[in-house]
């Protein structure tokens, strides 16, 4: 799966979760830049990502993420089977 495709789907997911059509997934996007992205919303993003991409994250993988870029890379790694 290409990073472009991943960012496209992440954008859809963020818009669904935050009910906000102005949000766009980009590598340097962080939680504090999005209204309502608290720890509960974070879990919803993760769960929605897991369902949408058909992947599963370990707790340690989620807690280390600094920005959307790292999330996208994690997804790509999982989709390529590594």
């Amino acid at each position: 799966m290409s990073l472009d495709e991943i960012y496209q789907r992440l954008t859809e997911i963020l818009r669904e979760v935050f009910d906000d059509d102005t949000v766009t997934a980009r590598p340097d996007l962080t939680a504090d830049q999005v209204a309502g992205w608290d720890s509960f919303a974070h879990l919803r993003v993760i769960f929605t990502v897991e369902q949408a991409f058909g992947v599963s994250f370990a707790a340690s993988e989620i807690s280390g993420l600094k920005n959307v870029g790292e999330l996208a890379q994690l997804i790509q790694a999982k989709k390529s089977g590594s």
Binding site: R15, E16, D19, S39, F40, L43, R44, F47, A58, A59
Partner: protein, 638 residues
């Protein structure tokens, strides 16, 4: 996977792709009321969508207050678990059950304080009920390898704790309490032996649940049976160690919509919103096959056949509902006498005519019939559930009568009964002698109602089906199916002429005959071959319609009009000026007695019921109501 039925609320239709935009539109629309919220809620919504809907509920409430016709209900929510995701999923699910829900959230893990303190947030709000969301970790149920007497004390202590919370909320907040049974984790200390050892988590949860039920019975408080819900989807899926460790979620977040729906069923039941009547389709819902075409011997029911048993399960479910006071009715597209025969004569039928309060078998649309049933029973449309295997009928009723609950059904009839039960339309919080007897109050023995007028905009609904009718001449590929239909069709059959394959092949090869095999495709898929036409020369520039038959499954969709249009166009192209139709009456084809009259033919003769009709091809044919796909003909314009 069977648990997907529950997790995905598969009895509810999928939401439209622009669901989020529709929620916003409702929030912004000054004329929107509770009905718009209910319409949005009546879909299979995941957590994100329930939140979007909850935002619309709040926006509408801020503007309008009451949210009529939904019934307002304030629910306090406390527990030892994360409450934040529960609240919006509850608020978004409630309109599905006729409720406009407001929630008051207690502080995290401050259950005792919220209960005992008269000016806690929850008690000050004086809610209608408090949901006590305690799981097995939130109760004094310390497991251990102690003896039976100690285990009984531990359980009694935990029940006493819950009793004290209930009493406190009642005294301080004026609220009744919704208490939860416990879902134990799938892990065990020994294995099967856990049930024998009284202090294991498994044994303690089972004993606690039993004791809790006794404590709550006969009181004002009610049970939310989380134990059974968790078992139904599977304890291993219900409990997610990761989600508990990361976020103190008592169960996997993907069950939030299911959990919220179950809470709202109980709240709805408390406000009398549970459904009261089940309206049943007949063909392919209560038995396999079409009674009008297959006859008593041909329908599939019971008799050790696994499909037949599936339909018996549906009947068993209906009968069991009737026994607890749910009224049964029938709405079927059939001749009345034909539809009643299995009830009276089929040895495997479990349902009999006197189980059915109102029996509507006719050729009118089901929305009109269902509205008549509701009125005859003096029940609101929001008390009705309509079970039908046909997605087109389901769509029509949902559109014309949005208050009627119409469950989606899977392709496999073996899952019909389970899907109906999973939908939980008939939740109760009480069960009285009167309930038990209710069905007999309606013992008017399968009343038949006369219909006045018509409900809903049928033409608009039909247009939304995006139907495409496909005409081909008889060909080798279609030959065996054509032969099958010609020999099987009894009801919508004007002349009931039976031909074998060689005779059909002869029509195929006859240049003077017009043959049509007709398929219908709609938004739900390909209905296959649904009509067969044969026209033969019958004098100068005249055709006679030798064969006109149609599947009853596509009645009411103006297929006959499109077929006539095609016949007329093809006739004109070949210089035919007159078309003759005949009706040869049989025991089974009474429904097409007026077929030619309805299509604008004029009556030429009537000999003992056998009628002959004529149409000039120069006359205006019926207007087109769907797309036409035609090929394989050699049309030469005259």
């Amino acid at each position: 996977m069977s648990s997907e039925l529950y997790a995905n609320l598969a009895w509810l239709p999928q939401p439209p792709p622009d669901f989020r935009a529709r929620c916003r539109a409702v929030a912004d629309d000054a004329r929107a009321d509770g009905r718009a919220l209910a319409a949005l809620a009546n879909h299979a919504l995941n957590e994100n969508r329930l939140r979007q809907l909850a935002d619309a509920v709040r926006a509408l409430r801020a503007r309008d207050g009451a949210l009529a016709p939904l019934t307002p209900f304030t629910l306090g929510v406390v527990g030892n678990v994360t409450l934040e995701p529960l609240v919006p999923t509850l608020i978004g699910s409630a309109p599905r059950h006729g409720i406009a829900l407001e929630c008051v959230e207690g502080d995290f893990a401050q259950t005792v304080q919220e209960a005992m303190s008269p000016d806690s947030r929850i008690n000050r709000a004086r809610p209608d009920a408090v949901l006590l969301a305690l799981d097995f970790r939130g109760l004094p149920l310390a497991s251990g390898f102690y003896d039976g007497a100690t285990a009984r004390d531990v359980v009694a202590g935990a029940v006493a704790h819950v009793d004290a919370l209930r009493a406190a909320f009642r005294a301080n907040g004026g609220a009744r309490v919704i208490v939860q049974t416990l879902a134990p984790p799938p892990e065990s200390a020994f294995g099967s032996f856990d049930r024998i050892v009284p202090g294991t988590v498994r044994s303690l949860c089972a004993a606690f649940n039993a004791a809790l039920v006794e404590s709550v019975r006969d009181g004002e408080d009610v049970i939310l049976d989380v134990a059974t819900l968790a078992e139904t989807v599977g304890l291993a899926d219900w409990h997610s160690p990761r989600q508990w460790n990361v976020a103190k979620l008592p169960f996997d977040a993907r069950f939030l919509p299911l959990y919220a729906d179950h809470v709202c069923r109980v709240v709805g039941a408390l406000r009398g919103k549970s459904r009261r009547c089940l309206i049943l389709d007949l063909d392919n819902t209560l038995w396999g096959g079409v009674i009008g075409d297959d006859g008593l011997e041909g329908i599939v029911l019971g008799q050790g056949d696994w499909t037949g048993e599936a339909y018996l399960d549906v009947q068993r479910t209906a009968l069991a509902l009737r026994e607890r006071g749910i009224v049964l009715a029938v709405s079927s597209k059939n001749d009345d006498a034909v539809a009643r025969r299995p009830f009276a004569e089929h040895p495997d039928m479990l349902l009999r005519e006197d189980h059915i309060a109102v029996f509507q078998a006719n050729w009118n649309d089901k929305a009109t019939n269902i509205a008549a049933i509701a009125e005859a029973l003096s029940l609101g449309l929001d008390a009705m559930v309509f079970l039908d295997d046909n997605p087109v009928e389901r769509g029509l009723v949902r559109q014309a009568l949005p208050q009627v609950a119409v469950p989606e059904l899977p392709a496999d009839p073996a899952l019909y009964a389970r899907t109906l039960a999973a939908a939980g339309y008939f939740e109760a919080v009480t069960f009285s002698e009167e309930d038990r007897k209710r069905a007999s109050f309606y013992q008017d023995n399968a009343r038949r109602l006369a219909l006045q007028g018509q409900i809903g905009d049928l033409d608009a609904y039909l247009a939304s089906l995006q139907m495409r009718i496909v005409f081909r001449p008889f060909d080798a590929t279609g030959r065996s199916r054509i032969t099958q239909l010609v020999n099987k069709s009894n009801q919508f059959n004007l002349t009931t002429r039976r031909y074998d394959e060689s005779e059909i092949a002869r029509f195929e090869a006859d240049p003077a005959a017009l043959t049509l095999q007709v398929r219908l495709v709609d938004v739900y898929g390909d209905n296959g071959m649904i009509s067969v036409i044969v026209c033969v020369p019958a004098g100068e520039r005249t055709w006679e319609i030798d064969t006109w038959l149609m599947s009853c499954r596509v009645l009411g969709r103006r297929v006959e009009h499109m077929v006539l249009r095609e016949i007329v166009e093809q006739a004109r192209a070949r210089g035919i000026e007159r078309i003759v139709g005949r009706y040869l009456p049989t025991e089974r084809n009474g429904m097409v007695r007026d077929h030619y009259a309805k299509l604008g033919f004029r009556l030429v003769s009537d000999v003992g019921g056998t009628t002959t009709w004529e149409l000039d091809t120069a006359d205006e044919p019926p207007a087109a109501s769907m797309e036409v796909d035609r090929s394989g003909f050699e049309l030469t314009t005259a």
